[in-house]
Symmetry: C2
Subunit: 378 residues, 2 copies
Amino acid sequence: MSMQLRSVVKDNGELELSLASVPVPVPADNEVLVRVEATPINPSDIGLLFGAADMSTATHADTPGGPVITARVPEKAMKGMMARVNMPMPVGNEGAGTVVGAGRSEAAQRLLGKTVAVLGGAMYAHYRCVPVEQCLELPAGASPAEGASSFVNPLTALGMVETMRREGHKALVHTAAASNLGQMLNRICLAEGIGLVNVVRSEEQVRLLKEIGATHVCNSASENFMQELTDAIAATGATIGFDAIGGGRLAGQILSAMEAAIGRSAKEYSRYGSTTLKQVYIYGGLDMRPTEIIRDFGMTWSMGGWLLFPFLQKVGPERVAQLKQRVANELKTTFASHYTNVISLQEALRPDVIAAYLKRSTGEKFLINPWKDAPPVN
Amino acid sequence: MSMQLRSVVKDNGELELSLASVPVPVPADNEVLVRVEATPINPSDIGLLFGAADMSTATHADTPGGPVITARVPEKAMKGMMARVNMPMPVGNEGAGTVVGAGRSEAAQRLLGKTVAVLGGAMYAHYRCVPVEQCLELPAGASPAEGASSFVNPLTALGMVETMRREGHKALVHTAAASNLGQMLNRICLAEGIGLVNVVRSEEQVRLLKEIGATHVCNSASENFMQELTDAIAATGATIGFDAIGGGRLAGQILSAMEAAIGRSAKEYSRYGSTTLKQVYIYGGLDMRPTEIIRDFGMTWSMGGWLLFPFLQKVGPERVAQLKQRVANELKTTFASHYTNVISLQEALRPDVIAAYLKRSTGEKFLINPWKDAPPVN
């Protein structure tokens, strides 16, 4: 037997997180069995884990089957949960581990014993069985921890640069820029000579990014933030931004600063503002408050959601394969990730640990090693 | 001599509106001289008229040259006015009148004596000289007042329907729907069998739209507004909206209602919401407060600015000519406008009248007849 972390929203308005005992899966012909040794807690996992539950109501119980977390889902939020009610859902977008079993196909057999990264969901578990195509073979010498975040952050960072180019912009703004993802984006932009305006929220984060070579870093906590942001945007010519925050004024401020930067070289008055399209994509929700937009940037603007998977679909499998290969090639450099905490599946369900990773502090990053505590007897 | 209304933002932070005495222009070969007899005050004129001035500080003086209005532009708003500082700007996007002079070209000569609508700016004047291409010959029997609003509202309404189709939507939502523009859009949608959700803000406006045959009318002042909006959106399948308000929560509420309507037929849970693109375009700013977006509609959404002129450029001159011809053909039916007040150029600069048209109440619509008061001696 092995364990798998599951999240269920019950029809009584309760969220329950637990570790289910499940048989070790058996790979089909073109599948491999991966012993999951490292799987990160990404912001994109948090939504599935906790749904709309109010985690301040969370209680913890130790049962014979392991820890169980229970929390209330506010009644008005249950409407949005309807499609997942009473369905225990496994969690964990990505991870890495060792191929310990393989189906009969040549491609599957070839991976036996290899360290692979997997994008497949349900990675918060001891084992995961996936088709060969969902694996990325890691370069020799790369550990599961080094490969655990091979997909979501690297492909998102590459996707931002590619979206920028495809939509006709030449430089970009990025918020929460001190994150693992932000550091990857900074390295990509430095390597390719792309103008990047990094927005962070503390002087410590400014230093961190400067240390890894960032050219433009603006601190949203600075008194002169708008001035500094406008200067950096004017210097780079950025007309597209990717915002991980979502709530509050920051997304709108980026549009305002873009318009002000464009206005510095405007030759004639237009009552509708500049005719340059200013685009901000919100790709995360670190701040769940409403987005507040002060519309002082004319009429040529757009704000919208951006997600990795529709982007991958749009560019097509051939391009995705190229991007993945680049990630593998540069895993220890451009796409290196850093973790501050390595926890077990059991620890992932401890209230104090949940509180810590729910804070989503930039610089704090949790990695689950399912084998850290009391591995099950096979 | 003749008069022309002008707006200037001075470098001392003062807005000044006045009537300038200008020579009657002389048409070039391919131009006509139009005696302007009717020109509407559109929301799109208000921005140029008053800039960022605080009209609560307005003062009025009677000078030998006519009335002069002066008001303060708040210091922080002057930044956005830089490109027009110290440049007296004529105002008035559109209007209609009689061709009283013509250049030597056949096309110009052919218009002599005809009633034409003109889209050309600077229409708040006794005379306007424009190239023949900027004129739309009105059908026999149409008065200047009937043709005064032949461009901005009709082409905007047609542009919304065309944008809906070009971007792959099948029904639309429109706010401030009891306006002249809203009534035109309602007539177009009824004629073409397009689903339209009209959003208004009073029961009186609900009645007005029901009387002209509207199928779906939602009152944003209703207690059950979100429920009613969602029902109407579900009934029509609307996934695009055009919002004249801009400020407050309405634009975001439309996205929320679209997502809720789509969710009613959702088959499986997606943590990122539906994959149907939900689009709201803000095309006006009746409410200048910040736009507040509660992001409870997943990640597949977009909000942005929409303007008539970029739309006309995008569809190209051939299509624009077709749209204009349709407006002329249906001027007294689909594209009929209603005015509650007809004022002179002098009255347009009276503080009590300014206060009235600045209120931008739906149903209140002002038309300027430059010849109403004391016509100048030629």
